[in-house]
Symmetry: C2
Subunit: 457 residues, 2 copies
């Protein structure tokens, strides 16, 4: 393995230059104005695979394209599917970025750009580790299949259909995804649980246009007031979601899991400092890690109504809009939650206000079993790459595709996150630690070695 490690060491500067190239492309999948940029990022990924002589295809969808590539099968060794995404979140609010989101800048060992950690930087580690094998060893110790999509940040709209139609082509023994975080700096982790998501936009309409709040105030329902009272009614003072049936399928945390969460070196004071808050707050009766990883939430993601410019404008707004979402835990079904929510909101919406609820995307939460040879291989590979054995943690975010792989391909996913929890993946000043980028590449290279030694049964 020394020639492999040598290759990784020698190519550090090249890997970083390539990361910068990819991060320069504003592949914001939610924005129709960036459609061509998204395509450009897909083409960039295609070029990487073609450069490695992998069998590569740019798969068109009704939305953004999927990049698929595979190496030849290796007799007796398993097949591993690497999933990642080349699209990124919108960069708003722009003015809070210290350096522009699509002009990568390196400060104190971190590279700052939209997509640095989520997921361009992390996804690239698996391409570079593959390159290292092929360039230094001439071949891979197992078969790799790459599925890199461009719609992860908009709900992976067309991915499920592609997977369903390509089960044979995508057949594998396990999936590897790097789109999560380490537990803390110097504490690498394997993530075995993810929360799900149900995302909504609520549009309320009152009068046909904005009205004078003096002449009409008191006569008609104000959609902004109604929006506040409807959304406020969804959570009580104890932080519990107030939708009938919401908790029906929530599995309580086991005493063992609560114990293990407690043992993790979670620095609550440091966590608060990083977030810039003076207090933590959430559902009563649960620790912070429990609330982040294993309890459902209801968070408003955006809200707009009436006059929001400079100065005072005494309007009674015609419309009010909120985007809000629930993080779900395993067994909660986004479809059931969606129906229960709509029923509750219709009860809460008064006459004189019209309501429209748009359900944009949902995914169930997942928990992956820990007693498999794949997990053991990943533990060893991470120890190689990061110099430390990983801890086992859960994550508050959602990677909907994990449930899809389980349901459609019948395989579990290794979530090997190289990021850090202050990487700001959906916020201004997203970053990725360059040392972790290289450690991730090394861990990935060793992962192919470790997984390659598992006998296919």
């Amino acid at each position: 393995m020394s020639s492999l490690d040598d290759y990784l060491h020698e190519r550090r500067a090249q890997f970083e230059r390539e990361l910068v190239d990819l991060l320069c492309i504003p592949s914001v999948s939610a924005s129709s104005a960036n459609r061509d940029d998204v395509r450009r990022a897909a083409a960039w990924v295609v070029d990487q695979f073609r450069g490695l002589k992998l069998k590569t295809e740019l798969v068109e969808t009704a939305g953004h394209p999927i990049v698929y590539a595979e190496s030849p099968a290796v007799a007796g060794a398993p097949t591993v599917l690497v999933y990642g995404h080349y699209d990124v979140q919108p960069p708003d609010p722009l003015k809070e970025w210290i350096s522009p989101p699509f002009e990568p800048a390196i400060r104190e060992g971190n590279i700052y750009a939209r997509g640095a950690t989520d997921d361009k930087g992390q996804m690239l580690t698996h391409i570079k580790s593959t390159e290292a094998w092929l360039k230094s060893q001439g071949k891979l110790p197992l078969q790799l299949k790459f599925l890199i999509e461009g719609e992860e940040e908009v709900g992976s709209t067309h991915l499920e259909e592609f997977i369903a139609k390509n089960r044979t082509r995508l057949a594998c023994d396990c999936v590897v995804i790097s789109d999560t975080s380490q537990f803390a700096p110097g504490v690498p982790a394997i993530t075995y649980g993810l929360r799900g998501l149900a995302y909504f936009e609520l549009n309320l309409t009152g009068p046909s246009q904005d009205k004078h709040s003096g002449t009409f105030g008191g006569a008609i329902a104000n959609p902004a007031n109604v929006l506040c009272s409807m959304l406020a009614a969804l959570i009580n003072e104890r932080g519990q979601v107030q939708i009938p049936g919401f908790y029906n399928d929530v599995e309580p945390l086991t005493p063992r899991e609560r114990d293990e969460f407690k043992k993790l070196p979670f620095d609550e004071r440091g966590f608060m400092q990083k977030l810039g808050v003076e207090a933590l707050r959430g559902e009563e009766g649960y620790s912070t890690l429990e609330r982040r990883w294993a309890r459902p939430t209801c968070d408003i993601n955006g809200m707009l109504s009436g006059y929001t410019g400079e100065g005072a404008k005494t309007v009674l707004p015609a419309r009010a809009m909120a985007k809000f979402s629930f993080r779900l835990v395993p067994k909660q079904d986004p479809k059931i939650i969606s129906a229960a929510l709509e029923k509750r909101l219709r009860e809460l919406c008064p006459k004189g206000v019209k309501m429209e609820l748009v359900s944009s995307h949902g995914a169930p939460g997942v928990v992956v079993p820990l007693d498999s040879p794949y997990v053991a291989a990943a533990e060893r590979a991470i120890e190689h790459g990061f110099g430390k054995r990983p801890v086992f943690m859960r994550e508050g975010g959602s990677i909907p595709v994990v449930a899809i792989f389980h349901d459609l391909l019948g395989v579990d996913t290794l979530l090997l996150g190289w990021g850090l929890d202050d990487d700001n993946p959906h916020s201004p000043n997203e970053k990725f630690c360059l040392a972790d980028f290289h450690r991730g590449i090394k861990a990935s290279a060793h992962l192919w070695q470790e997984l390659g030694q598992i006998k296919r049964t």
Copy 2:
């Protein structure tokens, strides 16, 4: 009076052209980008008065200038102060205008433009009636003083100071303001009551920047969620404001007043149709006119938080903002309301969220006595101009200066509104009926005649 009426008739086209000129100037006082436009509108008004050889002054303030003009005193006849404003509301949302807000367009007898009714069109009626007297009769039958400000839409910031410092110069027997509406088309009115206003902006800050709602949701207070629950807590299900002491100084409606409101030809179905709503809603136990004219309200005027663009973005917002205001009734003190509100909001705001409350402007409500010779003169003048005796009504909006004139000059105000309640004064497609523009000029011209006959005591 026939030569006066002839002049009015002959000059209709000229008056309309001048109205168009004034409406073309985007004198949005709330917008610092329009500072020069505001000044241009002031200069336009100055030119009008100078053209009539009135003693005219452009009075500088720390904000937008005040235009002051006066005609010579008339022995034995009263002095009347005409108040109006040349500034306008912001035109947002722009895309809802059928014709651009500062390109006046005439459709079906109405002129559409920002400021058409509020207050450029109405204010101009008094300048044109004065012109008619001076051009057709050579002199006015009473002394007129004009006080035309440029900050009405931003709380008349510098007006009170000017009035306080110029009591002698502004001394008068009554004030005339046309900045309200008729009761209905063909039902001219004298408005004897106005609501007050207390306007606020609430800024909540949670984490130092937008965060990933998966990784952090459940761990910290979400300022958008908190904003909704704080604002929702200010009103109960019966439409009553929930701030301790809020109703302490509210005078109950008298049985006589409730009776008189009931007698007015209020078309509730037509009102709903015009607004485009299927139901009316407000404080329980009061009729629609009572709620609009004589009961206090709490209305959100604008709200902004997190991601409001296309698609879904799973952020936990760093900040949430709402602009909201209370319409107040006579005797309610904006300062007392403001203090009680701030106390209540601080109780409602949880740890982990920082709150800032900005109080932008306030005004008490007023009621004007009806048993004066000035009111009787106005009744006759309106009958001349509109062909019908006016009804007596109240208004839901606020004209803060009415209370200031009462307190500082010791005089009451005649609120003679030429507008209609569907003129959209703070909304897209603001309009003013051109027939009412001319009727208003005629009523105003006859008002100078009627008021001039009142013996000064």
